[in-house]
């Protein structure tokens, strides 16, 4: 990613690292570069900053999980079944006496992984096909886009269910299912951009100095699509997290005892009336995470959009 961002400006990699310290610092950086502009605009957006902070906290919790909680997410303790939330067990315990907060924190690792990896694959695949399809045009374009239409015509949850049944329920297969479902939307967005980009004079100018088509796509078209790809990527993350939770809830995703949030809600729903926290608190975790990523993604889109328009 650093290398990609450095396309915009040599200093941008450094700038994006410091992005953690909030809007004001951001505006001091970057100067008059594209990245600088985008970060400044992002920093002025309160909602986006709130989302960014929430995501940041989530990441810290997930990475430092063993330091955050003294319990083991898999260790059962039958003496402590269904304890209510307390100072010791912040989120209470489940039916095997496992600390729920610990399981939610470890579950964040899964959710983040599921949010990031398939989204990256999706955007990479969609971006590649979109650029190739749009630039090549003709019959190739026609068939790639019809394939995308087919993928998009299926209700995506249904399609993912079919893929999961075929491949078998596991976390790894969720990656595959999500990637296969998501590329079509990204490909369309990127293709439409490429259609206008390829008519621009700099593409003709590149041809006029002997650049071959493959290189034009990689070196000239691709960097121009990066803003769109970044937005697609950030907005894809919450969708993917939601998707994984749904699949796991339905029993075709992560398998017990994996502390996936969807699975936690699914297992907890049996005790919804006797021990509501077991289902509700992981549900809240999903809600907050998805909301935070959406805030952040929207912020990115608004910040980058002006550049996508012209």
């Amino acid at each position: 990613m650093k290398r990609l961002l450095s396309v915009f400006h040599p200093r941008s990699a450094e700038a994006s690292e410091k992005a953690t310290s909030g809007g004001k610092v951001l505006s001091a950086l970057g100067g008059e570069t594209l990245i600088g502009d985008i970060l400044r605009s992002f920093g002025r957006n309160r909602t986006a900053l709130v989302g960014f902070c929430a995501v940041f906290i989530l990441v810290v919790l997930a990475v430092a999980a063993p330091l955050v909680t003294p319990f083991d997410p898999y260790e059962m303790n039958l003496d402590d079944q269904f304890l209510e939330p307390s100072g010791k067990h912040w989120f209470g315990t489940d039916r095997f006496g496992r600390d729920l907060f610990t399981r939610v924190v470890y579950g964040a690792r899964i959710s983040l992984l599921v949010g990031l990896v398939p989204s990256f694959i999706t955007v990479f695949l969609g971006g590649f096909l979109g650029i190739f399809s749009g630039y090549t045009g003709g019959r190739t374009d026609f068939w790639i886009m019809r394939l995308a239409d087919v993928v998009m015509a299926f209700p995506s949850l249904l399609l993912a269910l079919v893929i999961m049944y075929t491949l078998g329920a596991s976390l790894f297969n969720i990656f595959i299912a999500l990637s296969l479902v998501g590329w079509a939307g990204a490909a369309r967005v990127v293709r439409s951009q490429v259609l206008s980009l390829k008519e621009m004079e700099f593409v003709e100018a590149a041809r006029a100095i002997g650049v071959r088509d493959a290189v034009i796509m990689a070196r000239h078209i691709f960097p121009n699509c990066l803003p769109a790809l970044i937005v697609l990527f950030t907005l894809r993350i919450p969708e993917a997290i939601m998707f994984e939770a749904s699949l796991s809830f339905l029993g075709v995703g992560a398998q017990p005892p994996t502390p996936s949030w969807g699975l936690l809600v699914s297992r907890g729903k049996e005790f919804l009336f006797s021990a509501p926290w077991v289902a509700i608190l992981p549900g809240v975790a999903i809600f907050v995470t998805v909301l935070a990523f959406n805030f952040m993604g929207d912020g990115f889109r608004d910040a980058i959009d002006p550049y996508m328009k012209d």
Binding site: V7, F8, H9, P10, E32, T33, L34, M200, E201, F202, E204, A205, A206, R207, A208, I209, G210, V211, R212, V215, R219, H220, P223, N224, L226
Partner: protein, 326 residues
Amino acid sequence: MEIRNLTTRFFTRKGVVRAVEGVDLAVRRGTITGLVGESGCGKSVTALSVMGLVPSPPGHITAGRIILEGENLLDKNPEQMAGVRGKDISMIFQEPMTSLNPVLPIGRQVAEPLRLHTRLGRRQIRRKVVEMLELVGIPEPEKRLWTFPHQLSGGLRQRVMIAMAMICEPKLLIADEPTTALDVTIQAQILDLMKDLMKRLETSIILITHDLGVVAEVCDDVYVMYAGKVVEQGSVFDIFDNSAHPYTLGLLRSIPRIDANWGKRKLHAIEGTVPNLSEMPAGCPFAPRCEKARSFCREKEPPMVRIDGRHFARCHVAGEGGSPDG
């Protein structure tokens, strides 16, 4: 460089558009050859044909030869042509605002032809890029390597474009209206720069323009095109002082001028428009707009006739013209 009988057509649903019909053109080494004409007369398509960049489909070069240093470019396959572009022939475009990639630093863009066509190492490429930027008159070239196109003015951008086109020292540079989008003072600078580089790097230039002022200033030879054909060719003096074709005369009279009668005379305009290239009239394509057209002009296509020396015109009544002021 020599073009013989170049014919480029576009096969569209509405019919065949004869954009370039049997154009013969020769560019002498180390000179600037002007290609003049109204919009849609085939100037740009001629240039794209030479570059091998005619959009295909629907475009297709149906006949002719384009000979650069004894080799026919039309015999080359696309892969070989890509090796020629940027190395032996280069092109610069009208819009310096859009012909540079907005997300790549200019250093990388100027370096690209070297990366494609030579085996120079990183340092050598960098050194050559800096030299080239300096040569085209960009101040502090070292620092500019990392600037982006939007941080430069139009004139500077066109200089960058020229640097990019000339860095491999091509034998031929095609400049498609390179100064049209620039303001007048910058225009003169860019033209001077091109002339200067031509001498230093021993390049030839084809200058495509509709600005006769520019032609008079920098060109050695001139080709006037009309409706896909060359209608008059000759040295810049032949064309301006002794023009033979009524179309050329019309063009020259359409230039606003400041002289004794300034303000009293209405600016001359050639009546009508260029005929539809897919439905050419019989006879001379200019006949419907020509003041001197006779009845046979509308029936028989005129041949190229020699006026004197290297001066030719495609007209039945050529030479009966008179001076541009007539």
